[in-house]
Symmetry: D2
């Protein structure tokens, strides 16, 4: 089944893994991020593997960028079937060290970008009576830790938004789900930072992706609102 | 991959669907319930479809039955790889109308049977460094409603047990997960009771089963502790 | 206001503090525990301070003891207005080390005793259109930790029961609340075990008691179902 | 004990009740809201009853107003001991009907104002090793409903912020608590809108205030992070 998919927030790691998988399964994927060079390279690689990918330069804190990004997607690929809200702004500072600008920025990236992207697709989805919207959450979505106030507040705000959407849009045929990633995702950058940590203690991006794919294919009689993911050895 | 699977609590509906699916995927399945005639018929049907099934008469409130049931499974099929704790005793009465015996019985079926079954397999699983234990929960697992005190208390108790097990046994290679089924499952009995209700408002057993199967196959770096399932139209 | 109060589970520490406070505020208090000598001494001390206290030997795992205990209370003090379910059976063992008997016993003390005690008073409370039932919970009531499976399952079960009761009985004028005590309570025994730990890192029993008293006096338009308590320095 | 108290968001109803109570108990209260005429009248009434009150015109969506408001408070009353974050922007619209501006505004009022106010007092509180910060939440803080996406997302965001603050600042002597008000608060405006609804089905402002006062006076060994409040007859 070919479903137009937008991944809002693509980088090496989970975003890239999602793009490759959804493309491999036959979905044209639109890739949103600021680094257009990286996106072009990834899109070209996906195309060479038989997939279809559209790189779109989007700063997810910019309403204007988001608007024009979706305009391009709709024009080139058609109505969006799946939206993956994947932007994140981890910011490891507590109350005393966080400035008002940093706090606002965390909200813009984490919560508001998800709202703006969703606004671009929800009416179309309601119109066609189907669609999927997935939100990438974190431990901080359900537990406000000391030392990450902007991130926690933003992730909580995203979760509240996702729950409201799920309850409003479910009966209209749109599946909204929230994934809590509890642990460190394996990525080139992270492995470099922690060279001695054993591989199985990180969440593997492709394994996470399998769960997004599963959610995107749940039967309409059995939708999940929230699922958590962590390595077998993670303390929680 | 052939993994010995015990389904504790099999009846027409979800239990049967789980048995058929896991057998179809190559797992020898042991079926526990009181109605041995029904189990034998189901097992014979599974065998005719190329699967392997062992019907075992077990009253899940009886420690003795549970012990001998697992003894038989281990002897005939070998070490248990997957345990699905699926017994339930819905009891729609509130505090004032529930007797001490009814309250205790709800706990015996819902919580204690899960403990006793788990005890029969956990040491083996730890020994082999792998295994999966799935618990069937309900809305009442996370929200104690008026009018179902025994069921809610039992389901809460099961959830606390599952969480403790997950944290204890995860690092030892055993995946424990809890599924919250939020809504009415489609079954012959239920359809008869509510003949006018539209089919898509019930959870479809096979669709639920796909989620159990997904959980039983998650990569060790991305295990889920809890996932909820409900129809698109369910209010929650 | 004189309200007959039963404290189910009295020992040096929180139970004793509750007894003294409620008696000081004018409530006749019935004290339930196994050690009748201790109860008699405490009751006599309360009486000498102008309060009214009734020591009753009750093994809270015994339905018979509970029945006769409440019979005595009703005969000597009258209808019960406030019930404090305070029995606990901390049991620091995980799945692999917990026997079926230990698991069942944790449930009997923690969950079932609360049910049996509540059954003895709920009909009277509904009849008079008022009453208060308080449940002592713990961190393990909301988070199943490795290494305390019986305690966690029992405390979860108690919480589910309390929620069901609150929803059923609130509209009938009965206030049910659940208190999550998150940390170590200061008591002679505990201080002896941890002589070097600073006093302000323990919850002070009298300070906890002030919260129970607050709950027992909330206006009918603003009832709390759940409140958590912990020392300022507790990590959580 | 005289503790300088700021109530951010004062209007007829809970805000006014809080102001009167804290003033009556001896705390100089600073009143923040846009309607300076109303604040002046209230302050004058409080003064006539022997209290001390400072009316300050503050638009809580304006960082500049907040800054100058606290500057005035510190100059006229001294270091702030208690901050009550009480601003709210109920907005009963769902995803499809909410504009980006409305969504952002709900966050500014609900979450961001709490951050900005807290920033003005937290360093002083840490310096003096004591202080209290209370946040007014709602049902929507823990459950994103259909039809209130901006409010829910903002209230979730506030709750995540409060949890982070509690964990960061508790060990430094600052008590952060979050109150979930579940139901309709009685106020002149609300009674006018629902003239036929019985009085006991509304939360009484003074009864809520008693709970804020209780939280503001908890012993340092027994602090509450979260407490819920609802009428006895509220379904939940």
């Amino acid at each position: 089944m070919s479903r137009v998919t937008v991944i809002a927030g693509v980088g090496p790691g989970l975003g890239e893994s999602l793009a490759r998988k959804f493309a491999r399964e036959g979905s044209p994927v639109a890739l949103f991020a600021r680094s257009i060079d990286y996106l072009k390279e990834l899109a070209s690689d996906i195309e060479q593997n038989g997939g279809s990918a559209l790189p779109v330069q989007v700063d997810l804190t910019s309403p204007e960028d988001i608007r024009s990004g979706f305009k391009q997607v709709k024009k080139e690929l058609g109505t969006v079937d799946i939206l993956i809200n994947h932007a994140s702004a981890a910011n490891w500072k507590g109350m005393q060290d966080t400035s008002a600008d940093e706090f606002e920025n965390a909200w813009r990236v984490t919560t508001f970008s998800g709202f703006l992207c969703s606004k671009q697709v929800v009416d179309d989805m309601v119109q066609q009576g189907s669609g999927t919207s997935l939100f990438t959450g974190a431990t901080s979505s359900v537990r406000g830790a000391a030392g990450s106030i902007g991130f926690a507040s933003g992730k909580f705000g995203m979760r509240g938004m996702a729950q409201s959407m799920a309850r409003e849009l479910g009966p209209k045929g749109i599946h909204v789900a929230h994934i809590i990633i509890d642990g460190q995702i394996n990525s080139p950058r992270v492995r470099k930072m922690m060279p001695d940590r054993e591989e199985h203690t990180f969440l593997h991006p492709d394994a996470i992706t399998d769960n997004y794919w599963h959610l995107a294919n749940q039967d309409k009689t059995t939708w999940t609102l929230e699922l958590d993911l962590r390595p077998s050895v993670e303390e929680f």
